[in-house]
């Protein structure tokens, strides 16, 4: 059980992390999600013992780590670009924490083989780190980080330097290895998809503070405010009468609530279908591989994104379409009531 208890960290007298408390049960993955400069990396470094705390405690199984230097905490850090030691081979990199702990040479070699297999890099032991691709480097960094089964794995944007398709595949592998080994992990990232792909719980951080935390689905379903909603990947946040108009369709909301919409929250219904709740005029249409993305103008709301199933002919600008609102692609902002009524 890892715990941050009211932790504050200052840089030159300015608080970079302010009064942050987080609980991380053993075997779980917690993602701290926030824009760059929000203090999340500082928080991670503080957990590792690389930044002095001005207040609060870092606890492992109830034991305060204040007097324990970084190299004795039994944690492991994994960074964005892997930070492999270029002077050592891949195998030596992975075996590094084992050699530090003076494991017998044969045991180290066997464990390195096992770890290489776990991250899907059999036979890479003698390669030089600079000959690897970005994804391979991250796999090696992961193997090195879990080599001695750390009490806590600290991940600093582990996938952010990779391109999209690679990121998805590596995220799945990362998740698999972490759960299979029962590793407790704290992840910081600015990428909500990375957080959703890996985490059991998440905390939104802004300006040095945690503004919201919970299970990813909970946070997703009820962002605490507009900024949080946009950061979580919602496309637009509507308020006032526009919000009421949309919420009325799904039978929710009240005065003064705001609603966050994903780009796919509005769907074009086939002509003649009777579930069209809103009508809009197409302003722009583009075909994406699996869906047609539209911009529609709705009276009283303005321009919004919408999707349509792929068809032979795109709806042209100026064409009027019927739209329905997809319930699980919107969220009421700053109010848990919608989720409460629709479990």
């Amino acid at each position: 059980m890892f715990r941050l208890d009211r932790v504050s960290v200052a840089h030159d007298g300015v608080l970079a992390v302010e009064d942050v408390s987080l609980d991380l049960p053993a075997g779980q993955v917690l993602a701290v999600l926030g824009p760059s400069g929000c203090g999340k990396s500082t928080l991670l470094r503080a957990a590792a013992g690389l930044e002095p705390l001005v207040a609060g405690r870092v606890l492992v199984d109830g034991v305060d780590q204040a007097k324990v230097p970084t190299h004795k905490r039994g944690f492991a850090l994994m960074f964005q670009e892997g930070q492999l030691f270029n002077q050592q081979s891949v195998g030596d990199n992975i075996g590094y924490p084992l050699r530090i702990r003076r494991r017998p040479r044969a045991a180290v070699a066997a464990r390195v083989e096992e770890l290489l297999a776990a991250v899907g890099l059999e036979g890479y032991a003698d390669r030089r780190p600079e000959t690897l691709s970005g994804g391979e480097r991250q796999r090696v960094a992961l193997a090195r980080a879990i080599a001695v089964s750390p009490r806590l794995l600290l991940l600093d944007e582990p996938l952010s330097a990779l391109d999209a398709s690679l990121r998805e595949r590596l995220a799945a592998d990362l998740r698999r290895v972490i759960t299979q080994t029962g590793t407790t992990a704290l992840l910081v990232t600015h990428d909500h998809e990375e957080a959703f792909a890996l985490a059991d719980a998440m905390a939104l951080m802004r300006g040095g503070r945690v503004v919201q935390s919970g299970r990813p689905s909970e946070v997703w379903a009820a962002p605490v405010d507009e900024e949080a909603a946009l950061f979580l990947g919602y496309d637009r946040v509507l308020s006032g009468s526009a919000a009421e108009q949309v919420l009325a369709v799904v039978g929710a909301g009240g005065v003064g609530t705001a609603v966050a919409l994903r780009r796919s929250a509005l769907e074009v219904v086939p002509p003649g279908a009777d579930d069209a709740a809103l009508r809009g005029v197409v302003r722009d249409a583009r075909a994406a591989p699996e869906v047609v993305r539209l911009t529609v103008e709705i009276a009283g709301i303005g321009q919004l994104a919408a999707v349509a199933p792929p068809r032979e002919t795109l709806p042209g600008p100026g064409q009027e379409v019927g739209l329905r609102v997809v319930r699980d692609r919107l969220a009421v902002v700053g109010d848990g009531s919608l989720r409460a009524r629709n479990p």
Binding site: H71, L77, D156
Partner: protein, 537 residues
């Protein structure tokens, strides 16, 4: 607090061996009779001879700097951007003069242009042009290495884009290439000017009493005229000038954009490259000619071929304090001591100034230390030697007869080279590497070994080799400090030059060849390590 402990050593060393000598000089120059007065110093600076010396220093240095840049920039282009067979060998060759002891350079040009030299018909033997040529010879590598390094890592796409827009090669150079290189050129030129203005050995050998620069004047005032207050005043002047030049070089360097390292692509030679190729050839000739003629001269005795000059190297001569071989032994021992001192000090300083600061106070302290450690750069070797002489031979620090005095002075001369080689390497290490190692269980020492040492050992060995070569040839400070009964080889060569008799001159030439051979071998090994940036400024 680790910072304070680590910084304490270098601070103490520099306190004793830099601050003390400088204060002693200040005392001598500005407090001659126990009270502060500028009058004697101003009197010295107002003397007609002083003004002539100052003027001579400036114009010789300016002419040599201009010549070095005009020859060096095209040479840098030819050797770093063109595919020329043997370019690497020529690049290595060009560095040789830079590590040649100044005395050797003096001897080489003296016998090349002098009364009996193969180029005596030029009539340059006694003229200042001999000094200018020798300075260009000496500093060409600085420009070629600095500018060539920048040129090599220059992204060629900027000038390709200019060419695609219709620019002629010359226009493309002016628009795209030159602005990117200006920082490197200005920086190299200011360093060359600095080296020229503080050149000592070669001016002393080539100029004699006739042509004096500030440096040789300090030496004459001290050792011949015993006018210490006047020498101190000139030292202070030199100190101020050098600091000013360093500031200029620093500014120029800051203007340099950190060019993205791109793999050097060398292209085939085309006709418009002819001037650059010719410049490279002239540069190579300028280097080969004096060295070659020095070699030839060393095996000529009385108009015939003979190894007598070399045979005499080990033979005792009652008019000299030591044989050349003994002096070489002194030089090697001194250089070993100077090298470990410079390396120990340089590593500590480099670590102190490159470690990540955690707070503003720490950052400020580190900035102060950084500035303090760079101060020795501001003294010429002669000033340092003079300062040691007047400050360290009486309490509180009396090292007059200590065998460590010369090595310490040489270590301070070599220190900036070591620091400048190591700092970029250490600063280039991503601190997260250290954090990753620490989080994986590595203690501070283990982290140092895994991360820093693994990256730095090669540059460290190179810097040590460089420091060793510099110490071997060091003459400016050593000339003031070497004990009469234990001269280093450069000091003995200078003595030989001043001794009457053709056989003494022959021995000096042979000794110069020996010294050049040893330092060049050391530098050859350093070059084999292929550390970028060593010897570049």
């Amino acid at each position: 607090m680790g910072l304070v402990a680590l910084a304490a050593g270098p601070v103490a060393v520099l306190g004793v061996f830099f601050v003390l000598p400088v204060s002693a000089m200040l005392g001598l120059g500005l407090w001659p009779d126990g009270e502060l007065t500028l009058a004697p110093a101003l009197e010295v600076l107002g003397r007609e001879r002083t003004l002539r010396v100052l003027g001579f220093t400036v114009w010789v240095s300016a002419a040599a700097t201009l010549g070095t840049v005009l020859l060096g920039v095209p040479t840098a282009f030819a050797l770093h951007r063109l595919r020329i067979p043997g370019a690497r060998a020529i690049r290595t060759l060009l560095v040789v003069p830079f590590v040649l002891p100044t005395v050797v350079v003096g001897v080489a040009f003296d016998q090349l242009l002098g009364e009996a030299g193969p180029l005596r018909f030029l009539g340059l033997g006694e003229s200042p042009f001999a000094i200018v040529l020798a300075m260009i010879f000496f500093n060409l590598a600085v420009v070629v290495r600095t500018v060539g390094g920048a040129w090599e890592s220059l992204d060629p796409r900027a000038s390709e884009a200019a060419a695609a827009l219709g620019a002629t090669p010359w226009q493309a150079f002016r628009v795209a290439t030159f602005p990117a290189l200006r920082g490197a050129i200005v920086s190299a030129a200011s360093v060359v000017f600095l080296f020229c203005a503080t050149a000592f050995g070669l001016v002393l050998v080539l100029g004699g009493l006739k042509h004096a620069t500030i440096e040789t004047e300090i030496y004459l005032l001290t050792t011949v005229l015993f006018d210490l207050p006047a020498a101190a005043a000139l030292c202070l002047l030199q100190f101020v000038v050098v600091i000013g030049l360093l500031a200029v070089a620093q500014r120029a360097r800051r203007g340099q954009v950190a060019a993205q390292r791109v793999a050097a692509v060398r292209r085939a030679v085309r006709w418009p490259d002819l001037p650059a190729v010719v410049a490279a050839a002239v540069g190579a000739a300028l280097v080969v000619l004096p060295i070659g003629s020095l070699l030839v001269r060393s095996v000529r005795v009385d108009g015939g071929w003979s190894f007598d000059n070399f045979r005499r190297l080990g033979v005792e001569d009652p008019t000299l304090p030591a044989t050349v071989v003994e002096a070489l032994g002194n030089s090697l021992r001194t250089a070993v001591d100077a090298t470990w001192m410079a390396v120990l000090l340089g590593v500590t300083v480099a670590v102190v100034v490159t470690r990540r600061s955690h707070s503003r106070t720490e950052r400020r302290l580190r900035g102060l230390l950084d500035g303090f450690f760079m101060l020795p750069l501001g003294v010429s070797a002669v000033t340092l030697g003079f300062g040691f002489m007047v400050a360290l031979d009486e309490p509180p620090v009396n090292l007059r007869d200590s065998p460590l005095l010369v090595p310490i002075a040489q270590a301070l001369v070599a220190l900036p080279l070591v620091v400048r080689t190591l700092v970029p390497v250490l600063a280039g290490i991503d601190d997260r590497q250290r954090q990753a190692a620490a989080s994986l269980g590595a203690g501070p020492l283990r982290t140092l070994a895994t991360i820093d040492l693994a990256v730095v050992w090669q540059p460290l060995v190179a810097a040590a080799g460089f420091a060793f070569a510099v110490s071997l040839g060091e003459f400016g400070a050593t000339a003031f400090l070497a004990r009469d009964d234990a001269p280093t080889l450069p000091v003995l060569i200078f003595d030989l030059l001043g001794s009457p008799g053709a056989h003494h001159y022959g021995t000096a030439v042979a000794g110069a060849v020996l010294l050049a051979g040893v330092t060049a071998s050391v530098m050859f090994l350093v070059e084999r390590l292929r550390v970028p940036g060593v010897g570049g400024f």
